[in-house]
């Protein structure tokens, strides 16, 4: 069952603003995440597929996100938010990731967004063959999809 906090923030904030209350909550959420002024792209068929799900299609070539699915070219990312980087069992990480893990890199929405923007900058020497997602909002949607698909208890 989807909880309120799992809804994409950029859809939530305008709703609150329109409602004329909860402005502060919306703004605080914005600041915490570091998003700029949210804009909803009309082309997304949000109801049907969810923007994050479509955006994640470009990741799913290499990453599974269902629990216990085997690693593909990249590690399984189920419930990866809040976990240490380079720590999935059964996956042979690149030297770059081994080093990053040793340095204590952990995945939160911020570090994930930076990484997806420019994988080679955040984890130098990694072998993820991906150019990066330039658009901040799209990165947010991808991260939302990671959050949405997490089936661990989240208290």
């Amino acid at each position: 069952m989807r909880t309120l906090k799992a809804l994409p923030i950029y859809l939530l904030a305008p709703t609150l603003l329109l409602a004329g209350c909860g402005k502060e909550t919306g703004k605080a959420a914005e600041e915490a995440i570091g998003h700029s002024e949210p804009q909803v792209e009309a082309t997304f068929q949000a109801a049907a597929a969810g923007p994050g799900k479509i955006l994640f299609l470009q990741c799913s070539a290499c990453h599974a996100i269902t629990p216990d699915a085997p690693a593909k070219v990249g590690p399984n990312l189920h419930c990866v938010i809040g976990k240490q980087a380079g720590a999935r069992e059964g996956f042979a990480y690149s030297a770059g990731f081994v080093a990053a893990a040793k340095n204590g890199l952990a995945w939160d929405r911020g570090t994930l967004s930076d990484f997806i923007a420019s994988p080679g900058e955040i984890v130098p020497g990694n072998s993820m063959a991906f150019g990066g997602v330039a658009d901040e909002e799209k990165r947010g949607a991808i991260i939302d999809h990671l959050a949405d698909t997490c089936e661990e208890d989240n208290d």
Partner: protein, 153 residues
């Protein structure tokens, strides 16, 4: 089992197993051959299409996962090659064998839409499609030309 898919604005009922890659649904069920099979594992990008505004390597996406979405293929960019990228590709005489170019153009179109202010380095880092004929220098020129022409328009 029938999956509904809108491709280039036209709705199709696809009667294929849902795990069939979108690439083969487009080429076989819909009959559009512009999207190419190069590697089948999402590395070369020859199969790139646009799904709900996102560039996607269609060989790695099961058609069942994109039911009820809007898919755009190279054939959908324009009726007559008049998309700014297509015109630029012709002006710079980019293609040699041409096999990678539909996927290259689709990837470039998504990339430009996301970031019209992109630099040459951005292009180099984000356009990971493979061209075995080595047309990379001309691709950069063509993307620059397309961006310039779009701004002028």
């Amino acid at each position: 089992m029938s999956i509904t898919l809108t491709v280039n604005g036209k709705t199709h009922d696809i009667d294929l197993a849902p795990e069939t890659p979108l690439l083969w649904a487009i080429r076989d069920a819909v009959g559009l051959k512009g999207t190419k099979f190069g590697c089948g594992v999402g590395v070369c990008g020859a199969c790139t299409v646009n799904v709900d505004g996102v560039a996607v390597r269609s060989c790695t996406v099961p058609v069942g996962d994109v039911a009820d979405t809007q898919v755009t293929t190279i054939e959908g960019l324009s009726d007559d090659g008049s998309h700014p990228l297509q015109k630029a590709w012709i002006a710079e005489q980019v293609p040699q064998c041409g096999y990678c170019q539909p996927g290259m153009i689709m990837a470039a179109s998504a990339m430009i839409k996301d970031n019209p202010a992109l630099s040459d380095d951005d292009i180099r880092n984000q356009l990971t499609n493979i061209c075995r004929c080595g047309t990379y220098p001309r691709i950069i020129k063509a993307i620059r030309r397309a961006i310039a022409d779009t701004h002028e328009a």
